[in-house]
């Protein structure tokens, strides 16, 4: 038995690989659940099904999925263009800073002005944080993976510096900012629930990016630039400029996520405002196949899981970090399973003379 490269890939293979990845993830996460003294099937029911069985649970899932929709589609857009933006975490934080700046600086504006202004400031903050790596990539040719990554801890330090210094709460003296003007509070999407209009904005952004990527000439150019930059360049696409613009838009969208979280949930800046949403965005985008529909599904799944994990930690005493473990495992398992798609098993032993090697160790390129 040996592994050889496939000539053609049957259509059932990709879904099958995803299913294998999901099964492996479920099997592996059953171990820590077991160790925590809970019954895995019952726990999985609570993780995945229980949040969806009540209206209030469903609203919590949508609320939790909201920041992931923003960061997920932001990362997906950049990755599609072949720009490896892993700085959504920092861009999200700068968005939160931008919104807090206008929200505490101009607290008395009327809501119809305040809300768009808050979002605009957030988008601008995220965009500003994306400019330096994008510029370095385009003008100096510096790999963006490292620069976007390294700006994440810097962004967190900026938040902490502001909260320890000029933005320290003027009433309590705690290290979180003053409350934004009430005009900046995003209204509830459904009266009585915590789901706010940030979710609506997120849905619009995801849909628009999805349409642009799949239904417009710009989308074709973006995908060409990402998949085959040389060929795209030959066919007249200005790859560098396109990637630069996608990087900025990606940063702006991540910044919108920060704005939504400040105006819809926290109403002030805290150093824990991003619960690793930017890093999780990389998971959402990758598992979502860098498409709008996939981002929806995965953000919803991870939101569901996260609400379930909170619930399980209270009821079954399984620590809530299981949700984060599950999503990281899912990412690695699905990616691994997908990489095997390119190989098939050849049961007949190879003839001795044809000792040509195509072992799976020489894994496929990215």
């Amino acid at each position: 038995m040996r592994f050889v490269l496939r000539g053609r890939e049957p259509r059932w293979l990709a879904p099958a690989a995803v299913a294998v990845g999901v099964l492996v993830t479920v099997a592996l996460t059953a171990i820590p659940i077991r160790l925590a003294g809970a019954n895995p099937p019952a726990a999985f029911e609570r993780y995945l099904v229980t949040p969806l069985t009540s209206t209030s649970g469903l609203y919590e899932v949508l609320l939790t999925a909201t920041p992931l929709l923003f960061t997920g589609i932001a990362v997906a857009l950049a990755f599609r263009a072949g720009y490896w933006n892993i700085g959504a975490e920092g861009q999200f934080l700068l968005g939160a800073i931008g919104t807090t700046a206008v929200g505490t600086g101009l607290p008395d504006l009327p809501a119809p002005v305040a809300l768009p202004l808050g979002f605009a400031a957030g988008a601008l903050g995220g965009l500003a944080w994306a400019v330096v790596p994008a510029w370095l990539k385009r003008r100096v040719g510096i790999d963006e993976v490292v620069t976007t990554l390294l700006l994440n801890p810097v962004a967190l330090l900026v938040v902490q510096g502001l909260l320890n210094g000029p933005w320290r709460n003027s009433e309590s003296g705690f290290t979180d900012s003053d409350r934004l003007g009430t005009a900046y509070d995003l209204p509830a999407l459904v009266p009585g629930s915590r789901v706010h209009w940030g979710f609506g904005v997120a849905v619009v952004v995801v849909v628009v990016v999805g349409i642009v990527l799949t239904r417009t000439a710009t989308g074709v150019r973006i995908r060409a630039a990402g998949q085959a930059p040389r060929a795209a360049e030959f066919s007249g696409i200005a790859v560098g400029r396109l990637q630069f613009r996608c990087a900025l838009v990606s940063g702006g969208i991540a910044g919108l996520g920060g704005a939504s979280q400040v105006m819809g949930v926290q109403h002030q800046l805290t150093s824990g405002i991003s619960n690793s949403y930017g890093y999780t965005g990389v998971i959402v985008a990758t598992l979502g196949g860098l498409g709008a529909l996939g981002v929806f599904l995965v953000a919803f799944l991870l939101g569901d899981l996260s609400v379930g994990a909170q619930n399980v930690s209270l009821v079954l005493q399984v620590p809530a970090q299981l949700g984060a473990m599950f999503s990281a495992l899912l990412l690695l398992a699905v990616l691994s399973a997908m990489s095997w798609r390119r190989y098939r098993v050849q049961w007949r032993p190879p003839r001795a003379s044809a000792a040509s090697e195509s072992q799976p160790e020489r894994g496929p390129t990215r």
């Binding site: 490896w84 100096v140 690793s276 990758t286 970090q321 990281a328 990489s339 799976p360 496929p364 990215r366």
Partner: protein, 299 residues
């Protein structure tokens, strides 16, 4: 104001120690052409497993050995993703970090919810009471054994040449009869162990306890240092000392009234900003290893 220079140098050496261990670990890996973004998670794993094993066994040495084993395994796992399966290195590395941190936090919460366990006995400093040289043995070994050894092995031995060949041009290395997969796995496994020792130093030598912020971005600092050093051991050690120096200075300034207003966050952001500035100025002169971020596939 009274700056205590000797205390400053002593603190600098201690703060630099985990960066030297983990930074050299990352450097070895990157020399073989792989960017291991699992470093933050691997340091976290080393810090946690080391602490847990030391707490349960009552011996810091058992803790250190356990941390090393955990680091080897984390490196091998990264090898599975980046070498065997050829996955995207930044996505799988980030995934590994997220997985390891979540797994350690999960286990810590499960075992010690609401408690703050501490080790009865952590590594003691040598030459207690003396200035500057009152350091942990891991500090001495890191600076005086590991760094020269890494410099010598990478620069002057056949093993180092093999790693370099694979990292610069894996097709050529393969043609020359060097096993790309085996070399990269070896680099990842050794590097993982070094990262885990860097993390374990924090819990077994400095703190004697574990908390969820124990590593707090030191892995990312190491990524920055390695690029700043352009993949050279001594420059990485120098970078670790410079960063640790500003860090120690900031800690002293914070308790010096006249300087209480200098935002410490600015100092902490310096290594990242320095690297980005160095990349911007060095520009195209910064030459990444030729195989960086690529996966090797024959034919």
């Amino acid at each position: 104001m009274s700056l205590n220079l000797l205390a400053l140098i002593g603190a600098m050496l201690t703060i630099a120690t985990p960066l030297v261990w983990a930074g050299i670990g990352e450097l070895v890996v990157e020399r073989s052409g792989i960017l291991n973004l699992g470093i933050e998670g691997t340091m976290y794993l080393g810090a946690f497993v080391g602490f847990l094993a030391a707490l349960r066994s009552g011996s810091v040495w058992v803790g250190l050995v356990a941390a090393i084993v955990a680091g080897l395994l984390a490196g091998a796992l990264m090898g599975l993703f980046a070498v065997t399966l050829g996955l995207n290195q930044h996505v799988s590395g980030l995934g590994l970090t997220l997985l390891l941190i979540a797994g350690c936090e999960f286990t810590f919460r499960l075992l010690y919810a609401g408690e703050r366990p501490t080790l009865d006995d952590k590594f003691r400093v040598l030459f207690r009471g003396a200035d500057v040289i009152d350091q942990h043995w891991l500090t001495y070994v890191g600076f005086l054994v590991l760094a020269p050894l890494a410099w010598w092995v990478l620069g002057s031995t056949g093993l180092g040449a093999r790693v370099h060949a694979v990292g610069e041009n894996f097709e050529a290395a393969d043609v020359a009869g060097i096993s790309v997969a085996r070399t990269q796995y070896a680099a990842l496994i050794v590097g993982g162990a070094l990262m885990a020792i860097g993390g374990a130093f924090l819990t077994l030598a400095v703190l004697g306890s574990f908390n969820l912020d124990v590593v707090s971005g030191r892995g990312w600092v190491c990524i920055a240092l390695v690029i700043f050093a352009r993949w050279r051991v001594w420059l990485a050690v120098a970078g670790a000392l410079i960063f640790a120096g500003t860090n120690a200075l900031q800690l002293q300034l914070a308790i010096t009234p006249a300087f209480g207003d200098v935002p410490g966050e600015l100092m902490l952001a310096l290594p990242y900003l320095t690297v980005i500035a160095a990349l911007a100025i060095g520009g195209r002169g910064v030459r990444y290893p030729g195989s960086y971020l690529k996966a090797y596939r024959r034919g």
